[in-house]
Structure formats: structure tokens, C-alpha cells
């Protein structure tokens, strides 16, 4: 049985390692094989970009060699897929190789798409690539005061990031001693300051306490120099626009017509691509109405690892993905909290503590063990 994992991000890496351990006997005997195809020989810790943007982490801390994170039994190649031929169970890579599979796992992720909103890329700073996060830090370093607007596109990766960057900006400006020269204005697409009602109920009074103003039901339509205009016919003027851009799935998914916007229609419990029993999807690549976050990819990968191993060994999957998500929330001032929920249980976040902030700081380093499947 040949299992092909396309994508070497968090989801693909945890899944491939999980499968390599569960199927160690089959891999040793040669009755099964795991191949991973990725676009890069490096693995990025994407949540670290938020810290790079405010000078709390260096860029060298973001990367490890992908091969060093993988079990040695995984056949890893830097050769991204360009064509998916699902009817014939094969893919064609950038180098022109045609690779057949019995089970395909697609974990290609998502990307910021500031270009989707006219004027946004040219007039804002953001932190979803290394180059953008570094450019944002440089811009912040030169900023001496004025109106700062935080604006968020839809859909976006990491639902906590609009709040986290706002609290980090407060910390950053206070540390530089220019907070009294900054007017910080937060905007958000829906009718409260965060998707999760309990998180919004906690964050809004925190904003009030710090003097951060906010406007909800604000969806960016266009940005011109110094002004962001919303679809709701409102606008906000700025000296510095910090944005969480709208996201899309990867171009290869769109090019192969696997899903609108690059997001593949996926069964919410079995995680198979709709209409395909031997194609599984995880992480940001799914169209599921749940958080596009590393923890989602992590828990999906664990469920899929168990199921795919069971399919190889017994012919049937053994469990459903329950929608589990666990997100840390950096709350500024050296504190953090978290939100944990699944399809059946809503989140109930607690008051931020310094202990959770230090745990999150530790997790930023423990991530590499998590990607290897050790924790």
C-alpha cells in the first residue's frame, strides 16, 4: 500500500510521522510505503511569524530541515505536485515525475492573499511570510506615533492573530515609550471583536481599559493611501495599517479544480475529500468551517494517522475527527490564555495568566518535538 502525503507543513509532517510509527512493521517488510512531496526542504514554524513582526523572535528560530523532522522510513522529496489525476490515483510533480498512490493525503496549506483586496498589499504591513514579518518589524521600528489600524480579511489563518497582534502592538509601543502618541483602532469582520463570544466578552473591556477603539462588521473592500474602506460603507484613516489578510488555499488546488478558493470540500468527520474514499485532506486545505490553525491540523493528523493505519491493517477506519481545536491566545502584558473546543463542546476560556504565557513561550520551542510526533 503506497501512502502519498502532499505537503510538508505541520499537518503533513505529523501525519507522515504518525503513520510511519503505526506502520513500522509494514514499512520494514516493504508491504507499505510512505512518500512525502513538499515544496521546500525547510519546515517553518508559522506561529513564530507573529513574534518576529514585533521583535520577540529571530528569523533563524523559525526553521528546521524538513528531513530532520521526519522518521527515516519516510521517502521525502522536494518536488511539489503540479497535477492531480484522482481518477487514475496518480500525481505529476514539478520535475515531471508521475507518482501513483493507493492513499493520497493533501496538506498543502493556505496563503495570505492581500492582492485580493485592491490596495491592501501596497498600503499595509502583515506577518504571514518571513519577508512580510521582517518588513513589518522594520516599519514598526521607524514608527514614531499616529493612528494605527488593525484590519482583518476573511477567511484567515489563525483566528486568534487579530487579537494577539493588537495586544502585542500595545506592548511594543509601551516598551518604546510612545504609547501615548499612538491611537490604536481595531476592526473586525463580524459583530463582536472576536469569533468566539467568550473571547470577545473578555477582549472588548481589555481594549476599553487600554484606550483601543474598535469597530465591528468591518470587511475591507479597498485600501487607498491613508484610508481603509469597508464593504459596509465605513472607513478608517491610518498612518500605519496592520492587516491579517484574507487567505486562499494553494494555487495548485485551484489549478486542478479540487476546490473553490483552493479549499477542498472535505467530510467533517472522516476527513476524506467529498466523493473520494482514498483521498484525505487536512489542515488549512480543507473547506471545513473550523479554525485554520496549527492545532486543527495537528488533531486532524492524529485522527487520520489512526484511521489510515487501520485501513492498511484492517481495511476500515476506526474513528471520527471530533472537531477538536486548541488555540493559545497571547493577551499581552506577559499573559496568555487558551480556547479549546470541538464540534460538540463550546470553548470556555479562562482569565489570562503569566503561567500560560510562559507555557506558550515554551511551546514555541517544543513545537519541533510536536512535529516529530513526540509530544
Amino acid at each position: 500500500m503506497h501512502i502519498l502525503v502532499v505537503g510538508g507543513g505541520m499537518g503533513g509532517t505529523i501525519l507522515a510521522n504518525n503513520l510511519a510509527r503505526r506502520l513500522s512493521g509494514e514499512l520494514e517488510q516493504g508491504s507499505s510505503k510512505i512518500t512525502m512531496l513538499s515544496a521546500s526542504d525547510k519546515h517553518m514554524y508559522q506561529p513564530g511569524l507573529l513574534y518576529v513582526a514585533v521583535g520577540k523572535m529571530s528569523t533563524s528560530e523559525l526553521y528546521r530541515d524538513q528531513k530532520s523532522l521526519l522518521e527515516s522510513s519516510i521517502d521525502f522529496h522536494v518536488d511539489p505536485v503540479e497535477k492531480f489525476d484522482l481518477d487514475n490515483n496518480s500525481v505529476t510533480t514539478k520535475s515531471g515525475k508521475k507518482i501513483s498512490y493507493d492513499i493520497l493525503c493533501i496538506a498543502t496549506g493556505s496563503r495570505g492573499n492581500a492582492e485580493g483586496i485592491p490596495g491592501l498589499a501596497e498600503n499595509s504591513c502583515q506577518f504571514y511570510t518571513e519577508a512580510d514579518a521582517v518588513a513589518m518589524y522594520k516599519k514598526l521600528s521607524k514608527f514614531e506615533g499616529g493612528k494605527v489600524v488593525v484590519a482583518t480579511g476573511v477567511p484567515h489563518k489563525c483566528p486568534m492573530s487579530p487579537l494577539e497582534i493588537t495586544f502585542f502592538l500595545i506592548d511594543y509601543f509601551k516598551k518604546r515609550g510612545i504609547w501615548d502618541k499612538v491611537d490604536l483602532h481595531y476592526t473586525y469582520p463580524i459583530g463582536r471583536v472576536h469569533s468566539l463570544a467568550p473571547v470577545a466578552e473578555w477582549a472588548a473591556p481589555e481594549f476599553d481599559k487600554e484606550g483601543v477603539t474598535y469597530e465591528t462588521l468591518f470587511n475591507m473592500k479597498e485600501v487607498v493611501p491613508g484610508k481603509v474602506i469597508s464593504e459596509e460603507d465605513s472607513s478608517a484613516e491610518f498612518d500605519l495599517l496592520v492587516t491579517v489578510p484574507p487567505h486562499k488555499g494553494m494555487q495548485v488546488i485551484e489549478d486542478n479544480e479540487l476546490g473553490k478558493g483552493g479549499f477542498i470540500p472535505t467530510d467533517k468527520k472522516k476527513l476524506n475529500m467529498e466523493g473520494r474514499d482514498n483521498v484525505f485532506v487536512l489542515g488549512d486545505t480543507t473547506n471545513l468551517p473550523i479554525s485554520k490553525a496549527g492545532s486543527t491540523a495537528h488533531f486532524e493528523a492524529e485522527a487520520l494517522g489512526e484511521n489510515i493505519a487501520a485501513i492498511v491493517q484492517m481495511g476500515e477506519p476506526v474513528r471520527d475527527y471530533d472537531g477538536k481545536v486548541f488555540c493559545f491566545i497571547e493577551a499581552g502584558d506577559g499573559k496568555a490564555t487558551y480556547a479549546m473546543f470541538d464540534y460538540n463542546n463550546p470553548p470556555n476560556p479562562q482569565a489570562p495568566t503569566s503561567g500560560l504565557h510562559w507555557f506558550k513561550t515554551a511551546y514555541n520551542r517544543m513545537y519541533w518535538a510536536s512535529a516529530r510526533g513526540i509530544i
Partner: protein
């Protein structure tokens, strides 16, 4: 008329039904109808508020087996 686009946001908390509707609305064509399914008790108020504010159209709204169905037409 094209087929309705189903947005099943039942039992989801983050990003939640309204964010899912906005997201799917961006990918839809003008004239498309989207049927949002929600079990979030706030949806009955916040979804019409956003739809009206932006200038789309609520085509239908009903509750069936404790699930709110809101059909929205993309106008612009």
C-alpha cells in the same frame, strides 16, 4: 438560477457562522444564493444585520429541527 450553495456551519464555534457566510459570499458570483445552516443562537440577529448593512438580500429564513436556515442572495 444556479443551485444554492450550502454553507453548513452547524455546531461550529470558530470562526463561526457569520464568518463562514462572509467567506463563502466572497467566493460566490453575483446572483448566487447561499443557504447557511447555523445552531448559533446569535445568528438570527447578526446575520440579517450584516446582510442588510452590506446590501445583499435575505431570501428566506426558517428553523427546522433546531437548525436555523438563512438563504442569502449575493447582490453585488
Amino acid at each position: 438560477m444556479t443551485d444554492r450553495i450550502l454553507v453548513d456551519a452547524k455546531n461550529t464555534f470558530c470562526p463561526g457562522p457569520l464568518m463562514e457566510l462572509i467567506s463563502n459570499m466572497k467566493m460566490a458570483e453575483v446572483g448566487d444564493e447561499l443557504e447557511l445552516l447555523s445552531t448559533d443562537e446569535g445568528s438570527a440577529a447578526d446575520i440579517p444585520e450584516w446582510v442588510n448593512k452590506v446590501g445583499h438580500e435575505i431570501v428566506d429564513s426558517f428553523t427546522e429541527e433546531e437548525v436555523l436556515h438563512i438563504v442569502v442572495k449575493k447582490i453585488k
